[in-house]
Symmetry: C2
């Protein structure tokens, strides 16, 4: 391919297709990518949208995948936008594919339609969390694999390292999430993974890390199984919203000075909320498959979609897949 091609699933997410197309148009307007780089998967669009998308390739596809579609069922929905997007990844007609659709269905499509990279057994959800330093912290697997074997931690590590390099982290330090930092702590799975990763000199493996250090500068890539990773991610989200809720309650029931204080702090609080919202951090990648797959959040609005298109384009130009050591 001479020109990179970024596909966008017109029918993915709660606000599709409107939010998706508006997001794509916003991305064009901001020069995140050019019209010949954008490919919209899905053609059942309003005339207004089709008019605005002049010069953009629109691939015919149907709106068939809902939130209730079972992961493996999508493999039979050959005319769906999700199926076609992943097929195009495999066929190298697309460098990257962005979808805000049903997560389970998207992971199945990525794994079985786009297909795994040779040398990778378990593709994983990779994402960046904020941290106390200015470097992001990479979490792998954030929820793709609920059950894993110790050998899969090697896949997760390499996927995480590639993403860390994409985010300008040189020589990323890799750690395994555990319930203690001593070598003898944790489950058999974790101990086996520890011994495995210790043996790879290419990994810059620094041992175990505890969840209370997630935001500290003790490592760059945290690897864990998808069940734990997803729970950690949702706990961060739940805790952040809980603290904001409690702060709001305290301010509401406080006196004049408390309310004045809140008013003065509004700007700081807002930038804080933005910082802890991991969704603003470069998107969630499903790494380890043929092609760059960006999972946008199901409730994405146009801005979130345009951000996802931005990171997908950037990752394609960076040639993210080539950074996964195979």
């Amino acid at each position: 391919m001479s020109v990179i091609k970024i596909g966008v699933d017109a029918y993915g997410g709660d606000n599709a297709p409107e939010a998706v197309i508006e997001g794509a148009l916003f991305a064009l307007k901001n020069n995140y990518l050019s019209r010949d780089e954008l490919v919209i998967i899905g053609n059942d669009l309003s005339n207004d949208f089709l008019e605005s998308l002049k010069g953009v390739e629109v691939v015919p596809a149907k709106n068939l995948v809902t939130n209730d579609t079972k992961p493996t069922d999508v493999l039979k929905l050959e005319e769906s936008s999700m199926y076609i997007g992943c097929k195009y990844l495999k066929e190298k007609k697309l460098d990257a594919f962005v979808s805000a659709g049903n997560t389970g269905a998207l992971l199945a499509s990525g794994t079985f339609i786009a297909g795994r990279l040779e040398g990778i057994k378990r593709p994983a959800l990779v994402l960046a969390l904020p941290s106390k330093s200015n470097k992001p912290k990479i979490l792998v697997d954030a929820g793709a694999n609920a059950e894993v074997k110790s050998e899969h931690f090697y896949d997760f590590a390499r996927e995480g390292i590639a993403y860390a390099k994409f985010l300008d982290i040189e020589k990323p330090r890799v750690a395994i999430l555990n319930i203690g930092s001593e070598e003898e702590k944790g489950s058999t799975l974790i101990k086996d993974a520890y011994n495995l990763l210790k043996g790879f000199s290419n990994l810059n493996f620094v041992g175990f890390v505890e969840a209370r250090e997630i935001f500290d500068d003790t490592c760059d890539v945290i690897v864990t199984d998808g069940f734990t990773g997803n729970n950690v991610l949702k706990t961060i989200e739940g805790t952040a919203y809980f603290i904001l809720h409690e702060l709001k309650t305290a301010i509401k029931s406080g006196g004049l000075f408390t309310k004045l204080g809140a008013l003065f702090l509004k700007g700081s609080l807002k930038s804080l909320i933005n910082k802890i919202d991991y969704r603003s951090y470069g998107g969630t990648f499903f790494l380890g498959i043929n092609g760059i797959l960006v999972k946008a959040h199901g409730s994405s609005d146009a801005e979130a979609i345009s951000n996802a298109i931005f990171v997908a384009t950037k990752a394609a130009k960076f040639d993210l897949l080539s950074k996964i050591e195979l």
Copy 2:
């Protein structure tokens, strides 16, 4: 026993024995318990301390368990305060035992020296988290069992229910932590546990709950394996400290109004920090063994120790163990 007896490990924790004895004296001064109810395990104390403890039973014991002691090694340290405290639980010489010592060693002592309750295969760490409503949220297992089978979820549920009742929650709703709320989500272990708990009409089982709902009023007792539970707990801690760190940074780099705002909000922020600190919430119990075992945090100061003594006394008077359905 006519008088309840609360044992305190003089040698447990980073600040032992000073913080422990001062905590015990504080508990006496505040009438959390009477002198004939308190039992200090450990006798190598200063004369000043022994003088202040007049009327309190002091059991001879040695300071042998360190942070480096391996869990099973404590079973051979028969003269250690931890061993003797757990032996006294088994022999009903104590109703409750409070220790801020080495967690792994304490869990091993509880399980193998005090012994499991008949009908319970897996004792677990049970603790209360804050929530958006005024009711606490119970988390089981918070870190005792890194590897579990589905049948152990039934133990965790009954342990959590007993603790919920102790915290005045009537008919506690039990949920299993999972990475989605649909029945087909999660690992085989989780699905098996779901099917098992569904079969017990005495549990008030409400299905799956996601980690982002931990602080919401959708259930009262959250059961999970000790690996996930411990990671969730430490993620809450890490996230809370991260948010406070970011807020402080924002205030520091802010202008006069920001600083004034922070000053006005100081009270609200302080009470918020207290609320999110789960350590202020009634202590961590190791439930399912013969006797009430309260695990105080390793870095406990005198106040934390006195709080742990307070909840241990309250739990003994409530007859917490009888609330575990066997």
